[in-house]
């Protein structure tokens, strides 16, 4: 059960090249493509004739053509052509989805009722437009339900055990960080501050820190995606709780879109700023973030397999679970609505 009548991330603009892209989203099989005329579109991934996935077909000027008998479909799912036959049968059409392309992100509206239209605009993501930042992204696949990934991202205390080699650093510092959880509406925010702490390896690779740093981790949970603002500044030089602080910034966009009830897509970008005295470090930051996510994937998939092996086994809560539990209540409330 997922929250519906919501925008979800379906992918990124750069994925739509000269071939259709198949992706299952919230148990629906979707084909996305960009027509020769430049329109990004999303349809049910099934030809209405013999059920071949339209993603096995080809992209043309006006739409996508099936790879079996050549039926051509427009971005709105209308059949434009049945080769060898003049009349187009009335029932020859496929379901379409509303796709909104903004800031290099493909947002798809997932309606509660078939054909339901968006009630509001797709989210804005200003970081992708801000010239101070360079970003790069990727799509990872998880054999685990999406909420286990929410749990992971809302509880960064795991950095000390799972990500020692990249962004982790000292476990005790992470576990004892100052922690604040705020919730309002459908948002949950987990704020962690680690003053006077040692910069982790990735930070040292990216920025010429002089010694200890004041470090922040601000996680903002939304139903469709999380914004994670992390970074650090030389100890004592900035107010680390001020959104206008200077220093080194990693701004992560983390869209966890359910694929099925038990699997998920992790669609993310990582943006960072570069120190004036250093060349662009965004490649290094991206690569190390990708490594970090691979580490998470191993842990979360092992966790999920083990949950399946022990159905109904109880879990004991500890101090770090406040944020994740708040987010679960938001999802539960919206999914029931």
């Amino acid at each position: 059960m997922f929250p519906l009548d919501q925008w979800y991330v379906a992918g990124f603009s750069w994925e739509l090249k000269d071939r259709p892209v198949a992706r299952t989203l919230l148990n629906r099989n979707v084909v996305m493509f960009r027509t020769g005329e430049g329109v990004a579109a999303a349809l049910e991934d099934r030809c209405c004739h013999k059920s071949l996935p339209l993603s096995c077909g080809t992209v043309e000027r006006r739409g996508v053509r099936c790879g079996y008998h050549g039926l051509l479909f427009a971005p709105d799912g209308a059949c434009l052509e049945v080769p060898g036959q003049e009349r187009i049968p009335t029932k020859a059409k496929v379901k379409s989805y509303v796709l909104s392309e903004k800031d290099s992100i493909l947002w798809i509206w997932m309606p509660r009722e078939e054909g339901g239209q968006p009630t509001h605009e797709a989210p804005d993501y200003w970081v992708h437009r801000d010239p101070r930042y360079t970003f790069k992204g990727d799509v990872f696949h998880y054999d685990a339900p999406y909420q286990l990934i929410h749990d992971n991202l809302l509880d960064l205390s795991h950095l000390g055990y799972v990500h020692l080699k990249t962004i982790g650093g000292n476990a005790a510092v992470h576990m004892n960080a100052e922690l604040k959880v705020e919730a309002s509406g459908d948002q949950v925010r987990v704020l962690r501050y680690m003053p006077e702490s040692a910069p982790p390896p990735t930070y040292l690779d990216a920025w010429p820190f002089k010694g200890k740093i004041d470090r922040w981790q601000e996680v903002e949970f939304n139903v469709s995606h999380l914004n994670i603002w992390t970074g650090g500044a030389d100890a004592g030089t900035e107010d680390m709780r001020d959104p206008q602080r200077g220093g080194f910034h990693m701004r992560g966009f983390h869209a966890i879109t359910p694929e099925t009830d038990t699997t998920a897509h992790y669609m993310w970008t990582m943006a960072s700023n570069s120190h004036p005295e250093r060349p662009d470090v965004s490649g290094v930051v991206f690569d190390q973030t990708a490594l970090t996510f691979e580490e998470d994937k191993v842990v979360i998939e092992a966790q999920y397999r083990n949950i399946l092996r022990h159905p109904g086994a109880p879990q004991v809560d500890i101090h770090v679970d406040v944020g994740p539990n708040r987010a679960r209540r938001v999802i539960e409330r919206l999914a029931r609505a």
Copy 2:
């Protein structure tokens, strides 16, 4: 549900060498072997002692010997020997099937009632005996139910989209070809003629055509197999509707035998004639046909996976579906009988 009290193709003569061959046919697990005395036989693939597949055993002069404790079984399933024990238990026997070897084809009788005997002779296939043709064959496996392959073969309009590189050629020509569907008894015939058309790549590799050709595609559906006679002659030189026409001939034997309810064996041979001025081209024709079938396999398996993902989703018929739909009605009638 399959038509029973029917002959089906179980394999080809050249497959029975010095080892037993395991093959599941219509959900029955069968072992085939040729005894040292030359008898081709088919038994249930299970030793009656400890259930090891007999296909894990060895072929001997009089039958097949189990690879676990050495029980020996005759072509009719009788146990001939229990090593270390004089008396052979009354119940020590395995089920046998009637196997008829003709024209290099192994036909198996699939009875409605256990032990039921054939009511007629296995089909004749004269092409394998005709000195004008050279043939070669193979067995492909499909992760798709057998009727999706019938559909494919009875509707050659897909050649223009799926087989561009081999036997396809211009999509519009294929889609607009003259089409005639005939049915009588348990047979369905789909006849397509494409006068004055461009020869496709495989034809040009095989025959010295001078320019445009008159091209024919004659598909004959039978419950156990399809005969597909295709070919072409220089435009205006032959009556392309006359079975005695000259020119280049590809005579395909296509036996689609269900493996299970959801998988199938595609057992086929391709025979062709060679032009007097050219060396034997049957190897080229066979290789390109195999490539064509690989293309079909990709499409049909993708189609089937997508049908499974969308249970109950409706399909819209178009003009090319007349032949396939007729054949489906034949299968349905016989399967219910």
Copy 3:
């Protein structure tokens, strides 16, 4: 259904090094580890916080630490530490198993009721302590239920068909060997003697036999493991039925521990003596035994897949089945208890 309130073999001492070992035993997911203080322990393989397998964690001086948020557990399952939190929740503990380490074997008590304690000591295995023998062992995995492996080991007549290249030799000799089956309590013994027989390849590699040999095969079935004493002496030089006989000895320890209802662990060691005139041959004997077990695995897994394909199909008993059937009755009686 398995006999409970029994010791089973969980592994071997040499497996517990610096990392935890995960193993499913009788459908229970177990993690085994040796603490820095040297204690061998077995716990349920699930952290009580977020369900990550503890086998993904690390071994420390006092116990095993979870790889997600760092909870530390003692050999008895008590939580010793929750990083970042002073109070340890009362419910923070994991199930523990009684593990007894003897003669390089890890015995685990599988209680009928949760928390049930052993009613007797774990079995003794003197061969591992006897200086006349050198041994080596391994753990194999079978995609087949454990009783099919019992059947195989209690009926060595299959050696003539399955193990021709190693310990098999002439099939007729094996099938016609003198055979005696004894049962007492929960034990079954199958005794086979083959006087004046040709030594098989492995025997010739290991011992300087002069010609024909008197050969013995003594299989002792226990619920948790089988002892298989085999060997041979130059014909006429020893009383092959006397436990004190000389000659070449292969002493096999075969613990077949169910993994799940349909899969099993085969944990075995092979001990042998060396002839005074020859260097240590235990490596050769071990390698050829491993090869033999690989042959058995192929046969038994093929047998099991075929049993699954033919549910309810009857099996016919022959003379070699007396021992296996006795053992099945022991298991059935104990599992019902």
